[in-house]
Point group: C2
Chain length 340, copies 2
DNA sequence: ATTGGCACTCGACGTATCCGAGTGCCAAGC
DNA sequence: GCTTGGCACTCGGATACGTCGAGTGCCAAT
């Protein structure tokens, strides 16, 4: 139904509305875009677009604003993702390049995205369910306090303190260390957890209790997915766009702080495999984020898509910029982490 | 100059204003507090208080609101810190009691404070400048990639990856491990850093480069004060009180995200040694937080005051509740961490 | 299909008005 | 010498109203 020009009008409306925050009228469009037709013609097209529920008028005789559906069409069909400027690309290289470890890299990443997009940014910690145990280290802080350190082949380190009922000497600890490494090393975290549980049965009865404590500690540790954590930055950006939220911004802030909500949302978006995905307005209603849009992209460690990063902002956000920045940073990250 | 009753009036004004968010007039006071005098008398007292700049009128012929100075007097002289309800005390015990490690304990702590006070809460990571090195562990992930793990007697674990120009075999690594432990173990982090630097000179030339890398890595690691990190929770609470900030809440959010600002402020408040300290409104102007008040308390690990926790909120905050909650949680934390 | 014209709508904005809470002051009273 | 009731005064907030203008929908003409 909607003509070629009609879609161009939709694109113009989205762009102008995002830029000006005000309903855009037919006159504004012919002024700011070279359509070569009169305002009346644009009005006819707009009537069509309104019928298709791609745009809406806040009240009779006002300009139009895009609906969620309108944004969807814009994102899917009308926006070409233009690459970042060389300055921005350079910023990514220099700002992320000097990171020393994963924690710092992700912390810098999330701040960078927030800065590039002017939105709230979030990076999901990589889930290491497919990474393998490289080494298990046991350090006695006291005879009955043993620090268990788990090192994976993705360079991740997890530590946990085990409190034992009876003390253990260095020699025994060395034996246990050897045994645990034998059992766990080279396996995925999940496999290692299972194997460790099985190991309990064949344990030297004298150290059963000790081994049990250590094994369950390590097993639990292995079970913990770091993928259930988010790093967030740019809350100030969210507050800055507060007036874009008709309802309160409170729910959004709470959802961000809660993390679980956002993580679920990230999880759902993982279905869309290839590249950047966008979830718009009411599409997020199940998560209590009906007025926000989320732009995310997966990124990979060692070639495996393990996690997501993205931005959260008002439905009326600059999708083009957000998508470009999210895509670029995700790619850079995948490239850097792929070298591991 | 200000009579006994005058101070009582100030207390009433602070309490009513905090509760109602509206300038409080003489009539309201006689209604809600049993002063046994008429509104006219209260008005006389209020004129006195205004002369002393303890209260102010937003405009002619409106009720009065406390000034920063008024809040200061209220906090210092007029508010008795009433202990928490048993339910709240119970909440602290149960909510914090089940924490397994320091990270989780602090994460739970900050959420608890935010919940108890309805303000934004922050906990400074303990600074371990006075804690001692218990153990240094080196783990070769690859011949030229060595993971350095530093364990302190306060149970803190720091890890860092060292990239070496030339590979190192297990045997050499074991020797180095022994040497580093000899040098560093038992010393404070600062001492260890110095000692490690000195050790470089007497190094076996063959491994000079290797040792240098490891030593500087560890030294830098030791130098890093974890006290320069904050855990924050309850941003939603800050947004909820947004209307209490005449200027924008943006600066506050930015300061919180920046962390450095808040950490400096925490540092300054450390001067006031005994228990809860409060910094009000313009007292925070150097930090760009002229409209906010900060309530903090130190807490101790192993008997040493090492860090602070507190809340940040509008000048018009419930100081009594905030102070009580901050004090109670800090005490609980000190008690729990003192057992280490 | 496009266009200019035109009546119509409705929110934004400025002005005038009213209302009431609250003050300051004063003279009278305990 | 405090305290109190009375009273005039002030000022912000709410309400009502008129004006203005951007923008629309529709229609007849091209």
């Amino acid at each position: 139904m909607v003509s070629e020009r009609g879609l161009a009008v939709l694109r113009a409306i989205v762009q102008d509305y995002v830029a000006s925050r005000e309903p855009v009228g037919s006159k504004t469009i012919v002024e700011r875009h070279a359509f070569g037709v009169s305002a009346a013609t644009i009005r006819n097209d707009m009537a069509l677009l309104e019928e298709e529920e791609l745009i809406a008028a806040p009240h009779t005789s006002s300009g139009r604003i895009p609906t969620d559906k309108g944004y969807r069409v814009f994102v899917d069909q009308l926006s070409e993702v233009r690459p970042l400027s060389s300055a921005q690309r350079h910023a990514i290289e220099t700002f992320l390049g000097e990171s020393s470890d994963l924690d710092e890299l992700l912390a810098r990443t999330v701040r960078l995205i927030a800065q590039l997009t002017g939105q709230l940014a979030a990076v999901q910690y990589p889930s290491f369910s497919t990474s393998r145990v490289r080494h298990v280290e046991l350090v006695a802080l006291a005879p009955e306090r043993v620090l268990c350190i788990l090192i994976t082949d993705s360079g991740q380190v997890e530590q946990r303190l085990a409190e034992l009922a009876v003390g253990v000497d260095e020699e025994t600890l060395a034996r246990l260390r050897g045994r645990l490494n034998e059992v766990a090393a080279g396996r995925t975290l999940a496999e290692a957890a299972t194997a460790l549980s099985g190991e309990l049965d064949s344990a030297d009865p004298r150290h059963a209790q000790l081994l049990h404590t250590l094994a369950t500690t390590l097993a639990e540790q292995a079970r913990v997915q770091r993928g259930d954590r988010l790093v967030v930055a740019g809350a100030a950006n969210l507050v800055r766009t507060e007036q874009d939220f008709a309802g309160s911004i409170l729910g959004v802030i709470e959802a961000i702080e809660e993390q679980v909500v956002l993580l679920k949302l990230f999880g759902e978006m993982a279905a869309d495999q290839h590249g950047v995905s966008v979830s718009i307005g009411r599409e997020n209603a199940p998560f209590g984020l009906a007025e926000t849009s989320v732009v995310t992209s997966p990124f990979a460690i060692a070639g495996r898509d393990v996690s997501r990063l993205g931005v959260v902002g008002p439905t009326r956000m600059d999708y083009t910029t957000s998508m470009a920045a999210v895509r670029a940073v995700a790619r850079y990250l995948s490239r850097t982490l792929g070298e591991h």
